[in-house]
Symmetry: C2
Subunit: 279 residues, 2 copies
Protein backbone atom coordinates (compact mmCIF):
# COMPACT_ATOMS: atom_id res chain seq x y z
CA UNK A 1 0.00 0.00 0.00
CA UNK A 2 1.12 3.56 -0.67
CA UNK A 3 1.03 5.46 2.63
CA UNK A 4 1.74 9.16 3.16
CA UNK A 5 3.06 10.74 6.34
CA UNK A 6 2.70 14.48 6.79
CA UNK A 7 5.03 15.61 9.58
CA UNK A 8 8.25 13.67 10.21
CA UNK A 9 8.80 13.94 13.95
CA UNK A 10 8.87 11.26 16.66
CA UNK A 11 5.47 9.81 15.75
CA UNK A 12 5.58 10.29 11.97
CA UNK A 13 9.16 9.04 11.74
CA UNK A 14 8.48 5.98 13.92
CA UNK A 15 5.37 5.17 11.92
CA UNK A 16 7.49 5.27 8.75
CA UNK A 17 9.97 2.70 10.08
CA UNK A 18 7.21 0.23 11.01
CA UNK A 19 5.19 0.67 7.82
CA UNK A 20 8.23 0.26 5.59
CA UNK A 21 9.29 -2.88 7.43
CA UNK A 22 5.89 -4.33 6.48
CA UNK A 23 6.57 -3.62 2.83
CA UNK A 24 4.46 -0.50 2.39
CA UNK A 25 5.61 2.28 0.09
CA UNK A 26 6.01 5.23 2.46
CA UNK A 27 6.08 8.87 1.31
CA UNK A 28 6.92 11.67 3.74
CA UNK A 29 6.36 15.42 3.78
CA UNK A 30 8.03 17.85 6.16
CA UNK A 31 8.18 21.65 6.25
CA UNK A 32 11.96 21.45 6.40
CA UNK A 33 14.15 20.14 3.60
CA UNK A 34 16.76 19.01 6.19
CA UNK A 35 14.16 16.84 7.93
CA UNK A 36 13.20 15.29 4.59
CA UNK A 37 16.82 14.37 3.93
CA UNK A 38 17.28 12.90 7.42
CA UNK A 39 14.09 10.84 7.19
CA UNK A 40 15.22 9.30 3.88
CA UNK A 41 18.78 8.75 5.15
CA UNK A 42 17.53 7.04 8.32
CA UNK A 43 15.22 4.84 6.26
CA UNK A 44 11.99 6.06 7.82
CA UNK A 45 10.50 6.98 4.43
CA UNK A 46 11.32 6.03 0.86
CA UNK A 47 10.75 9.46 -0.59
CA UNK A 48 10.32 12.81 1.09
CA UNK A 49 9.51 16.33 0.00
CA UNK A 50 8.55 19.75 1.37
CA UNK A 51 5.82 19.73 -1.29
CA UNK A 52 2.38 18.42 -0.29
CA UNK A 53 1.73 17.20 -3.84
CA UNK A 54 3.98 14.19 -3.12
CA UNK A 55 1.06 12.75 -1.12
CA UNK A 56 -1.42 12.88 -4.06
CA UNK A 57 -0.85 9.21 -4.88
CA UNK A 58 -1.13 7.89 -1.29
CA UNK A 59 -4.08 5.65 -0.41
CA UNK A 60 -3.85 6.58 3.26
CA UNK A 61 -2.37 9.73 4.80
CA UNK A 62 -1.32 10.07 8.46
CA UNK A 63 -1.14 13.70 9.63
CA UNK A 64 1.60 13.75 12.27
CA UNK A 65 2.37 17.46 12.62
CA UNK A 66 2.26 19.33 15.93
CA UNK A 67 -1.37 19.71 17.00
CA UNK A 68 -1.64 23.40 16.04
CA UNK A 69 -0.80 22.57 12.43
CA UNK A 70 -3.04 19.54 11.84
CA UNK A 71 -6.12 21.44 10.60
CA UNK A 72 -4.26 24.18 8.63
CA UNK A 73 -2.01 21.57 6.96
CA UNK A 74 -4.99 19.39 6.07
CA UNK A 75 -6.73 22.41 4.53
CA UNK A 76 -3.74 22.86 2.25
CA UNK A 77 -3.41 19.15 1.52
CA UNK A 78 -7.04 18.77 0.44
CA UNK A 79 -6.33 20.34 -2.97
CA UNK A 80 -4.05 17.41 -3.90
CA UNK A 81 -6.11 14.45 -2.73
CA UNK A 82 -8.69 12.36 -4.60
CA UNK A 83 -11.82 11.91 -2.45
CA UNK A 84 -10.99 8.21 -1.98
CA UNK A 85 -7.88 8.94 0.12
CA UNK A 86 -8.31 7.84 3.71
CA UNK A 87 -6.98 10.49 6.11
CA UNK A 88 -6.19 10.10 9.79
CA UNK A 89 -4.28 12.19 12.32
CA UNK A 90 -2.29 11.49 15.51
CA UNK A 91 -3.20 14.57 17.56
CA UNK A 92 -3.42 14.19 21.33
CA UNK A 93 -6.76 16.05 21.43
CA UNK A 94 -9.60 14.85 19.26
CA UNK A 95 -12.84 16.90 19.42
CA UNK A 96 -11.59 20.17 17.85
CA UNK A 97 -9.73 18.29 15.10
CA UNK A 98 -12.61 15.96 14.25
CA UNK A 99 -15.04 18.89 14.28
CA UNK A 100 -12.86 20.81 11.84
CA UNK A 101 -11.88 18.03 9.42
CA UNK A 102 -14.93 15.71 9.33
CA UNK A 103 -17.19 18.20 7.51
CA UNK A 104 -14.46 18.57 4.86
CA UNK A 105 -13.53 14.92 4.33
CA UNK A 106 -15.79 11.85 4.43
CA UNK A 107 -12.91 9.39 4.68
CA UNK A 108 -11.40 10.97 7.80
CA UNK A 109 -10.88 9.15 11.12
CA UNK A 110 -9.36 10.85 14.13
CA UNK A 111 -6.63 8.90 15.89
CA UNK A 112 -4.28 9.16 18.85
CA UNK A 113 -1.40 6.76 19.42
CA UNK A 114 -0.51 7.07 23.11
CA UNK A 115 3.19 6.51 22.70
CA UNK A 116 4.61 9.90 23.65
CA UNK A 117 8.09 10.25 25.04
CA UNK A 118 10.14 13.14 26.34
CA UNK A 119 12.25 13.23 23.15
CA UNK A 120 10.97 14.63 19.90
CA UNK A 121 12.01 15.02 16.26
CA UNK A 122 12.98 12.57 13.53
CA UNK A 123 16.20 11.75 15.46
CA UNK A 124 14.07 10.30 18.28
CA UNK A 125 12.00 8.12 15.89
CA UNK A 126 12.28 4.39 16.53
CA UNK A 127 10.98 1.01 15.44
CA UNK A 128 8.16 -0.64 17.41
CA UNK A 129 7.27 2.56 19.26
CA UNK A 130 3.57 1.64 19.29
CA UNK A 131 3.82 -2.00 20.43
CA UNK A 132 1.53 -2.65 23.41
CA UNK A 133 0.46 1.00 23.57
CA UNK A 134 -3.14 2.25 23.37
CA UNK A 135 -4.11 3.67 19.95
CA UNK A 136 -7.43 5.49 20.05
CA UNK A 137 -9.65 5.83 16.97
CA UNK A 138 -12.66 8.14 16.97
CA UNK A 139 -14.74 7.29 13.88
CA UNK A 140 -18.19 8.87 13.61
CA UNK A 141 -21.42 7.01 12.81
CA UNK A 142 -21.27 8.30 9.25
CA UNK A 143 -17.61 7.35 8.68
CA UNK A 144 -17.41 4.75 5.85
CA UNK A 145 -16.64 1.31 7.33
CA UNK A 146 -14.10 0.67 4.55
CA UNK A 147 -12.07 3.68 5.72
CA UNK A 148 -12.24 2.51 9.33
CA UNK A 149 -11.08 -0.97 8.34
CA UNK A 150 -8.08 0.33 6.42
CA UNK A 151 -6.85 2.44 9.35
CA UNK A 152 -7.59 -0.30 11.89
CA UNK A 153 -5.62 -2.83 9.91
CA UNK A 154 -2.58 -0.57 9.77
CA UNK A 155 -2.82 0.28 13.49
CA UNK A 156 -3.16 -3.38 14.40
CA UNK A 157 -0.05 -4.16 12.36
CA UNK A 158 1.90 -1.71 14.56
CA UNK A 159 1.21 -3.94 17.57
CA UNK A 160 -0.90 -1.25 19.26
CA UNK A 161 -4.07 -1.87 21.29
CA UNK A 162 -7.01 -0.28 19.48
CA UNK A 163 -9.72 1.64 21.38
CA UNK A 164 -12.79 3.20 19.79
CA UNK A 165 -14.57 6.11 21.44
CA UNK A 166 -16.16 9.47 20.77
CA UNK A 167 -13.78 12.41 20.39
CA UNK A 168 -15.22 14.10 23.51
CA UNK A 169 -14.81 10.92 25.58
CA UNK A 170 -11.19 10.68 24.48
CA UNK A 171 -10.56 14.29 25.43
CA UNK A 172 -12.11 13.89 28.87
CA UNK A 173 -10.16 10.71 29.54
CA UNK A 174 -6.79 12.23 28.57
CA UNK A 175 -7.65 15.37 30.56
CA UNK A 176 -7.80 13.15 33.67
CA UNK A 177 -4.72 11.06 33.24
CA UNK A 178 -2.41 13.19 31.12
CA UNK A 179 -3.32 16.90 31.13
CA UNK A 180 -4.57 17.32 34.73
CA UNK A 181 -1.42 15.68 36.20
CA UNK A 182 0.75 18.24 34.36
CA UNK A 183 -1.15 21.16 35.93
CA UNK A 184 -1.29 19.54 39.39
CA UNK A 185 2.43 18.81 39.24
CA UNK A 186 3.41 22.25 37.91
CA UNK A 187 1.38 23.90 40.69
CA UNK A 188 3.29 21.82 43.25
CA UNK A 189 6.62 23.21 42.03
CA UNK A 190 5.16 26.74 41.84
CA UNK A 191 3.89 26.48 45.43
CA UNK A 192 7.29 25.33 46.73
CA UNK A 193 8.95 28.22 44.87
CA UNK A 194 6.64 30.62 46.74
CA UNK A 195 8.35 29.83 50.10
CA UNK A 196 9.65 33.20 51.31
CA UNK A 197 11.97 31.87 54.07
CA UNK A 198 15.11 31.22 52.03
CA UNK A 199 16.53 28.81 54.65
CA UNK A 200 13.38 26.69 54.54
CA UNK A 201 13.46 26.74 50.73
CA UNK A 202 17.07 25.56 50.71
CA UNK A 203 16.30 22.77 53.21
CA UNK A 204 13.33 21.70 51.08
CA UNK A 205 15.61 21.55 48.03
CA UNK A 206 18.16 19.45 49.95
CA UNK A 207 15.56 17.11 51.47
CA UNK A 208 13.52 16.44 48.31
CA UNK A 209 13.74 12.79 47.30
CA UNK A 210 11.78 10.21 45.31
CA UNK A 211 8.32 11.38 46.44
CA UNK A 212 8.89 14.92 45.27
CA UNK A 213 10.80 13.74 42.20
CA UNK A 214 7.90 11.62 40.98
CA UNK A 215 5.11 14.03 41.85
CA UNK A 216 6.87 16.98 40.19
CA UNK A 217 8.14 15.19 37.08
CA UNK A 218 5.44 16.04 34.53
CA UNK A 219 5.10 19.58 35.94
CA UNK A 220 8.75 20.16 35.14
CA UNK A 221 8.44 18.81 31.59
CA UNK A 222 8.20 20.41 28.15
CA UNK A 223 6.30 23.73 28.61
CA UNK A 224 5.12 23.76 24.99
CA UNK A 225 3.39 20.40 25.46
CA UNK A 226 1.68 21.65 28.61
CA UNK A 227 0.55 24.77 26.78
CA UNK A 228 -0.86 22.71 23.90
CA UNK A 229 -2.85 20.57 26.33
CA UNK A 230 -4.41 23.66 27.89
CA UNK A 231 -5.11 25.36 24.55
CA UNK A 232 -6.56 22.45 22.63
CA UNK A 233 -8.24 20.55 25.44
CA UNK A 234 -9.26 23.64 27.40
CA UNK A 235 -12.84 22.66 28.18
CA UNK A 236 -12.16 19.10 29.35
CA UNK A 237 -9.08 20.22 31.28
CA UNK A 238 -10.99 22.99 33.07
CA UNK A 239 -13.67 20.44 33.97
CA UNK A 240 -11.03 18.13 35.47
CA UNK A 241 -9.33 21.03 37.26
CA UNK A 242 -12.62 22.11 38.88
CA UNK A 243 -13.22 18.56 40.14
CA UNK A 244 -9.65 18.43 41.37
CA UNK A 245 -9.95 21.74 43.20
CA UNK A 246 -13.15 20.53 44.84
CA UNK A 247 -11.40 17.37 46.06
CA UNK A 248 -8.41 19.35 47.30
CA UNK A 249 -10.73 21.70 49.20
CA UNK A 250 -12.42 18.74 50.88
CA UNK A 251 -9.05 17.40 51.96
CA UNK A 252 -7.92 20.80 53.31
CA UNK A 253 -11.20 21.03 55.21
CA UNK A 254 -10.67 17.60 56.79
CA UNK A 255 -7.20 18.60 58.00
CA UNK A 256 -8.48 21.94 59.30
CA UNK A 257 -11.26 20.15 61.18
CA UNK A 258 -8.87 17.44 62.37
CA UNK A 259 -11.30 14.86 61.03
CA UNK A 260 -8.74 12.07 61.05
CA UNK A 261 -11.23 9.24 60.61
CA UNK A 262 -12.55 10.58 57.30
CA UNK A 263 -9.07 11.63 56.16
CA UNK A 264 -7.80 8.10 56.71
CA UNK A 265 -10.76 6.63 54.80
CA UNK A 266 -10.04 9.02 51.98
CA UNK A 267 -6.34 8.12 51.81
CA UNK A 268 -7.27 4.44 51.92
CA UNK A 269 -9.74 4.84 49.06
CA UNK A 270 -7.23 6.60 46.80
CA UNK A 271 -4.68 3.91 47.57
CA UNK A 272 -7.24 1.29 46.61
CA UNK A 273 -8.27 3.07 43.40
CA UNK A 274 -4.78 3.67 41.99
CA UNK A 275 -4.12 0.09 40.76
CA UNK A 276 -7.17 0.42 38.45
CA UNK A 277 -5.15 3.02 36.56
CA UNK A 278 -1.59 1.80 36.74
CA UNK A 279 -1.67 -2.00 36.81
CA UNK B 1 29.72 2.79 73.46
CA UNK B 2 26.50 1.37 74.86
CA UNK B 3 23.63 2.50 72.65
CA UNK B 4 19.92 1.86 73.20
CA UNK B 5 17.28 1.65 70.49
CA UNK B 6 13.64 1.98 71.49
CA UNK B 7 11.46 0.72 68.64
CA UNK B 8 12.83 -2.00 66.35
CA UNK B 9 11.27 -1.26 62.98
CA UNK B 10 12.88 -0.28 59.67
CA UNK B 11 14.82 2.67 61.12
CA UNK B 12 15.62 1.24 64.57
CA UNK B 13 16.60 -2.14 63.14
CA UNK B 14 18.79 -0.62 60.41
CA UNK B 15 20.48 1.65 62.94
CA UNK B 16 21.25 -1.43 65.04
CA UNK B 17 23.03 -3.18 62.16
CA UNK B 18 25.27 -0.18 61.44
CA UNK B 19 26.07 0.60 65.08
CA UNK B 20 26.96 -3.00 65.86
CA UNK B 21 29.23 -3.23 62.82
CA UNK B 22 31.15 -0.29 64.31
CA UNK B 23 31.66 -2.21 67.53
CA UNK B 24 29.02 -0.55 69.68
CA UNK B 25 27.09 -2.53 72.26
CA UNK B 26 23.50 -2.23 71.03
CA UNK B 27 20.45 -2.82 73.26
CA UNK B 28 16.96 -2.90 71.81
CA UNK B 29 13.47 -2.53 73.22
CA UNK B 30 10.26 -3.38 71.38
CA UNK B 31 6.65 -3.65 72.54
CA UNK B 32 6.49 -7.16 71.06
CA UNK B 33 8.47 -10.11 72.33
CA UNK B 34 8.48 -11.61 68.81
CA UNK B 35 10.15 -8.48 67.42
CA UNK B 36 12.79 -8.66 70.16
CA UNK B 37 13.58 -12.24 69.19
CA UNK B 38 13.75 -11.41 65.47
CA UNK B 39 16.03 -8.40 66.08
CA UNK B 40 18.50 -10.54 68.05
CA UNK B 41 18.29 -13.41 65.56
CA UNK B 42 18.95 -11.07 62.61
CA UNK B 43 21.88 -9.51 64.45
CA UNK B 44 20.47 -6.00 64.57
CA UNK B 45 20.86 -5.81 68.39
CA UNK B 46 22.88 -7.80 70.92
CA UNK B 47 20.19 -7.90 73.57
CA UNK B 48 16.50 -7.06 73.35
CA UNK B 49 13.62 -6.83 75.79
CA UNK B 50 10.03 -5.61 76.06
CA UNK B 51 11.14 -3.94 79.32
CA UNK B 52 12.32 -0.32 79.14
CA UNK B 53 14.70 -0.90 82.08
CA UNK B 54 17.11 -2.61 79.65
CA UNK B 55 18.02 0.87 78.39
CA UNK B 56 19.08 2.17 81.85
CA UNK B 57 22.76 1.52 81.15
CA UNK B 58 22.82 3.05 77.63
CA UNK B 59 24.87 6.21 77.11
CA UNK B 60 22.74 7.23 74.12
CA UNK B 61 19.15 6.23 73.34
CA UNK B 62 17.54 6.50 69.88
CA UNK B 63 13.72 6.59 70.04
CA UNK B 64 12.59 4.93 66.81
CA UNK B 65 8.92 4.17 67.51
CA UNK B 66 6.06 5.33 65.27
CA UNK B 67 5.64 9.09 65.70
CA UNK B 68 2.53 8.86 67.88
CA UNK B 69 4.46 6.85 70.49
CA UNK B 70 7.66 8.89 70.72
CA UNK B 71 6.54 11.26 73.50
CA UNK B 72 4.49 8.71 75.55
CA UNK B 73 7.31 6.15 75.36
CA UNK B 74 9.88 8.73 76.40
CA UNK B 75 7.70 9.69 79.35
CA UNK B 76 7.79 6.09 80.51
CA UNK B 77 11.50 5.68 79.77
CA UNK B 78 12.51 8.73 81.82
CA UNK B 79 12.11 6.84 85.12
CA UNK B 80 14.97 4.50 84.17
CA UNK B 81 17.53 6.96 82.80
CA UNK B 82 20.32 8.81 84.61
CA UNK B 83 20.29 12.51 83.65
CA UNK B 84 23.54 12.05 81.68
CA UNK B 85 21.90 9.83 79.06
CA UNK B 86 21.78 11.51 75.66
CA UNK B 87 18.38 10.98 74.01
CA UNK B 88 17.45 11.54 70.37
CA UNK B 89 14.50 10.53 68.22
CA UNK B 90 13.94 9.79 64.52
CA UNK B 91 10.42 11.21 64.08
CA UNK B 92 9.54 12.74 60.71
CA UNK B 93 8.03 15.83 62.38
CA UNK B 94 10.13 17.80 64.86
CA UNK B 95 8.41 20.80 66.51
CA UNK B 96 5.75 18.95 68.57
CA UNK B 97 8.29 16.34 69.71
CA UNK B 98 11.01 18.84 70.65
CA UNK B 99 8.42 21.01 72.44
CA UNK B 100 7.26 18.02 74.50
CA UNK B 101 10.60 16.39 75.33
CA UNK B 102 13.03 19.34 75.66
CA UNK B 103 11.48 20.70 78.89
CA UNK B 104 11.80 17.21 80.40
CA UNK B 105 15.32 16.32 79.30
CA UNK B 106 18.35 18.60 78.93
CA UNK B 107 20.37 16.08 76.91
CA UNK B 108 17.71 15.69 74.19
CA UNK B 109 18.29 16.42 70.49
CA UNK B 110 15.56 15.98 67.92
CA UNK B 111 16.58 14.08 64.79
CA UNK B 112 15.16 12.91 61.46
CA UNK B 113 17.00 10.51 59.18
CA UNK B 114 15.41 10.91 55.74
CA UNK B 115 15.78 7.35 54.65
CA UNK B 116 12.19 6.20 54.49
CA UNK B 117 11.13 3.37 52.23
CA UNK B 118 7.81 1.77 51.38
CA UNK B 119 8.62 -1.31 53.49
CA UNK B 120 8.46 -1.28 57.27
CA UNK B 121 9.23 -3.51 60.24
CA UNK B 122 12.37 -5.27 61.47
CA UNK B 123 12.26 -7.58 58.42
CA UNK B 124 12.84 -4.54 56.19
CA UNK B 125 15.85 -3.33 58.21
CA UNK B 126 19.11 -3.22 56.27
CA UNK B 127 22.74 -2.22 56.55
CA UNK B 128 23.88 1.18 55.21
CA UNK B 129 20.32 2.50 54.98
CA UNK B 130 21.46 6.03 55.88
CA UNK B 131 24.48 6.33 53.57
CA UNK B 132 24.29 9.53 51.50
CA UNK B 133 20.88 10.44 52.96
CA UNK B 134 20.06 13.68 54.79
CA UNK B 135 19.94 13.36 58.58
CA UNK B 136 18.47 16.44 60.25
CA UNK B 137 19.35 17.42 63.81
CA UNK B 138 17.43 20.16 65.62
CA UNK B 139 19.43 21.08 68.75
CA UNK B 140 18.31 24.15 70.69
CA UNK B 141 20.57 26.98 71.83
CA UNK B 142 20.53 25.56 75.35
CA UNK B 143 21.32 21.96 74.28
CA UNK B 144 24.69 20.92 75.81
CA UNK B 145 27.38 20.84 73.10
CA UNK B 146 28.70 17.53 74.45
CA UNK B 147 25.31 15.90 73.76
CA UNK B 148 25.22 17.37 70.26
CA UNK B 149 28.74 16.09 69.55
CA UNK B 150 27.90 12.55 70.64
CA UNK B 151 24.84 12.33 68.39
CA UNK B 152 26.64 14.02 65.49
CA UNK B 153 29.52 11.59 65.68
CA UNK B 154 27.19 8.60 65.57
CA UNK B 155 25.17 10.07 62.68
CA UNK B 156 28.34 10.88 60.75
CA UNK B 157 29.51 7.29 61.22
CA UNK B 158 26.32 6.10 59.47
CA UNK B 159 27.46 7.86 56.29
CA UNK B 160 24.54 10.32 56.44
CA UNK B 161 24.70 14.02 55.52
CA UNK B 162 24.04 16.09 58.64
CA UNK B 163 21.82 19.20 58.53
CA UNK B 164 21.13 21.47 61.50
CA UNK B 165 18.00 23.59 61.64
CA UNK B 166 15.21 24.71 63.92
CA UNK B 167 12.37 22.21 64.43
CA UNK B 168 9.87 24.57 62.77
CA UNK B 169 12.12 25.03 59.73
CA UNK B 170 12.42 21.27 59.37
CA UNK B 171 8.66 20.87 59.57
CA UNK B 172 8.01 23.53 56.93
CA UNK B 173 10.62 22.05 54.61
CA UNK B 174 9.24 18.49 54.84
CA UNK B 175 5.70 19.86 54.44
CA UNK B 176 6.74 21.17 51.01
CA UNK B 177 8.61 18.20 49.63
CA UNK B 178 7.11 15.23 51.44
CA UNK B 179 3.71 15.94 53.00
CA UNK B 180 2.21 18.32 50.41
CA UNK B 181 3.02 15.94 47.50
CA UNK B 182 1.04 13.17 49.25
CA UNK B 183 -2.06 15.38 49.53
CA UNK B 184 -1.69 16.76 45.98
CA UNK B 185 -1.28 13.25 44.62
CA UNK B 186 -4.13 11.74 46.63
CA UNK B 187 -6.45 14.52 45.43
CA UNK B 188 -5.50 13.69 41.84
CA UNK B 189 -6.67 10.10 42.27
CA UNK B 190 -9.80 11.24 44.15
CA UNK B 191 -10.66 13.68 41.35
CA UNK B 192 -10.30 10.98 38.67
CA UNK B 193 -12.51 8.67 40.74
CA UNK B 194 -15.22 11.37 40.69
CA UNK B 195 -15.75 10.96 36.92
CA UNK B 196 -19.42 10.02 36.58
CA UNK B 197 -19.29 8.83 32.93
CA UNK B 198 -18.25 5.21 33.43
CA UNK B 199 -17.00 4.88 29.82
CA UNK B 200 -14.72 7.89 30.26
CA UNK B 201 -13.47 6.52 33.59
CA UNK B 202 -12.66 3.17 31.98
CA UNK B 203 -10.84 4.86 29.11
CA UNK B 204 -8.86 6.97 31.60
CA UNK B 205 -7.88 3.79 33.45
CA UNK B 206 -6.76 2.15 30.19
CA UNK B 207 -4.86 5.20 28.92
CA UNK B 208 -3.01 6.07 32.14
CA UNK B 209 0.73 5.67 31.69
CA UNK B 210 3.98 6.94 33.20
CA UNK B 211 2.80 10.52 33.77
CA UNK B 212 -0.17 9.43 35.81
CA UNK B 213 1.80 6.64 37.45
CA UNK B 214 4.45 9.03 38.78
CA UNK B 215 2.10 11.85 39.77
CA UNK B 216 -0.24 9.50 41.64
CA UNK B 217 2.38 7.31 43.33
CA UNK B 218 2.67 8.92 46.77
CA UNK B 219 -1.09 9.59 46.89
CA UNK B 220 -1.65 5.85 46.53
CA UNK B 221 0.82 4.97 49.28
CA UNK B 222 0.48 3.95 52.95
CA UNK B 223 -2.63 5.75 54.32
CA UNK B 224 -1.33 5.61 57.91
CA UNK B 225 1.78 7.53 56.93
CA UNK B 226 -0.31 10.17 55.17
CA UNK B 227 -2.52 10.47 58.22
CA UNK B 228 0.50 10.88 60.53
CA UNK B 229 1.85 13.68 58.32
CA UNK B 230 -1.45 15.56 58.56
CA UNK B 231 -1.87 14.96 62.28
CA UNK B 232 1.63 15.79 63.46
CA UNK B 233 2.59 18.43 60.91
CA UNK B 234 -0.87 19.94 60.59
CA UNK B 235 0.08 23.60 60.78
CA UNK B 236 2.98 23.51 58.31
CA UNK B 237 1.01 21.24 55.96
CA UNK B 238 -2.02 23.55 55.98
CA UNK B 239 0.28 26.47 55.24
CA UNK B 240 1.73 24.61 52.23
CA UNK B 241 -1.74 23.51 51.09
CA UNK B 242 -3.01 27.11 51.15
CA UNK B 243 -0.06 28.25 49.03
CA UNK B 244 -0.65 25.32 46.68
CA UNK B 245 -4.33 26.11 46.33
CA UNK B 246 -3.49 29.73 45.55
CA UNK B 247 -1.08 28.63 42.81
CA UNK B 248 -3.62 26.18 41.40
CA UNK B 249 -6.27 28.90 41.31
CA UNK B 250 -3.92 31.20 39.40
CA UNK B 251 -3.31 28.45 36.86
CA UNK B 252 -7.04 27.72 36.45
CA UNK B 253 -7.63 31.44 35.97
CA UNK B 254 -4.99 31.63 33.22
CA UNK B 255 -6.62 28.75 31.34
CA UNK B 256 -10.09 30.25 31.78
CA UNK B 257 -8.83 33.60 30.46
CA UNK B 258 -6.87 31.86 27.66
CA UNK B 259 -3.82 33.79 28.77
CA UNK B 260 -1.41 31.52 26.93
CA UNK B 261 1.60 33.82 27.18
CA UNK B 262 1.57 33.88 30.98
CA UNK B 263 0.69 30.17 31.18
CA UNK B 264 3.70 29.30 29.04
CA UNK B 265 5.98 31.50 31.20
CA UNK B 266 4.64 29.76 34.26
CA UNK B 267 5.22 26.27 32.86
CA UNK B 268 8.73 27.32 31.81
CA UNK B 269 9.51 28.64 35.29
CA UNK B 270 8.41 25.44 37.03
CA UNK B 271 10.46 23.41 34.58
CA UNK B 272 13.46 25.61 35.37
CA UNK B 273 12.95 25.39 39.16
CA UNK B 274 12.59 21.60 39.44
CA UNK B 275 16.31 20.73 39.06
CA UNK B 276 17.03 22.76 42.24
CA UNK B 277 15.04 20.11 44.10
CA UNK B 278 15.84 16.88 42.32
CA UNK B 279 19.40 17.15 40.99
Amino acid sequence: MKIGILGLGLIGGSLGFDLRSQGHNVLGVSRRESTCQKAVALGSVEQASVDLSLLASAEVVFICTPIALIVPQFEQLIAYLPSTTVVTDVGSVKAPIVEAISPLWDNFIGGHPMAGRADSGIEAAQRDLFVGKPYVLTPETRTPTAAISVVEEIVRSLGANIYHCQPEQHDRAVAWISHLPVMVSSSLIAACMSETDSEVLQLAQKFASSGFRDTSRVGGGNPELGLMMARYNRQALLRSLQHYRHNLDKLIHLIEQEDWTVLEERLKSTGKARPDFVE
